[in-house]
Symmetry: C2
Subunit: 151 residues, 2 copies
């Protein structure tokens, strides 16, 4: 089973996740339906993925069409949340959870920078995601501005 | 009051934020204690800020010391969550919430890329944050790998 603990992994009994609550504001549709199929990190040449934004949030998209690249924040709804040390599938080494970008983390929040393909109504098309089909959407924002070195 | 609605802003009645729950895994200490004082975006030459990670998550930091830059994810605990159109303070224009990086959003999650200064026990020192003192921490991860163009 995907959720078995591997040798060297360490689970804790986490505090109840009741410090703040999230609202799913949309759903992300990608070609990947099974864990292990999705790429390790999205690529700007990857397939076009569809983000369906729910009401009442659709008017909040106004102006996003002017951004070439957007930050997509989502909830990794299938991930366990109790591992502090985990085994990275790609190399079998055990590492602290915060030192890898695995979906398994105390708050399984994923972030990607995606290339905007288009927006129509409540549908946002992007390239560069790596999450599973059906992933709940938490937020969309313009990419951070690049850091300008001081003159 | 900071939380007043300005002309052109649009509030909605949001669904209850009960789709998923968060656990605060630490607290961020910065020099900025009042909204309006914090920079609009963190800068790698900014002041050193202290992130206190709580138990039982401290062992999850193991290996993070090898990352020069880390992604810091936090909860913008003072932000209202119901505006779909809002007025950006810097230029007074009204825009859709998802087209600006304001703290006011349905899920007020902030993300920054910070330069790692050092880690000692459960304390992580970084430069490049822009959040208020006392901001709850949600996650730490290595910066995304840069996109490599195909050969």
């Amino acid at each position: 089973m995907d959720d078995d603990i591997r040798p060297g992994e360490v689970a804790v009994t986490p505090p109840a996740a009741t410090d703040a609550g999230l609202v799913f504001i949309g759903r992300i549709h990608t070609p990947w339906t099974v864990r292990g199929e999705a790429p390790r990190q999205g690529h700007p040449d990857g397939p076009v993925c569809r983000i369906d934004v729910f009401e009442p949030w659709i008017p909040a998209l106004d102006g996003l069409e002017r951004c070439a690249r957007i930050e997509v924040i989502y909830w990794l709804h299938l991930a366990r949340r109790d591992l502090v040390r985990q085994c990275r599938a790609s190399d079998g080494l055990v590492r602290g959870t915060f030192s890898i970008r695995s979906p398994v983390r105390p708050n399984p929040i994923g972030t990607s920078i995606a290339e905007l393909v288009g927006i129509e109504g409540g549908v946002v098309l992007v390239r560069g995601l790596d999450c599973l089909d059906g992933t709940p959407l938490l937020d969309l924002k313009p990419e951070r501005k690049p850091v300008v070195p001081p003159p």
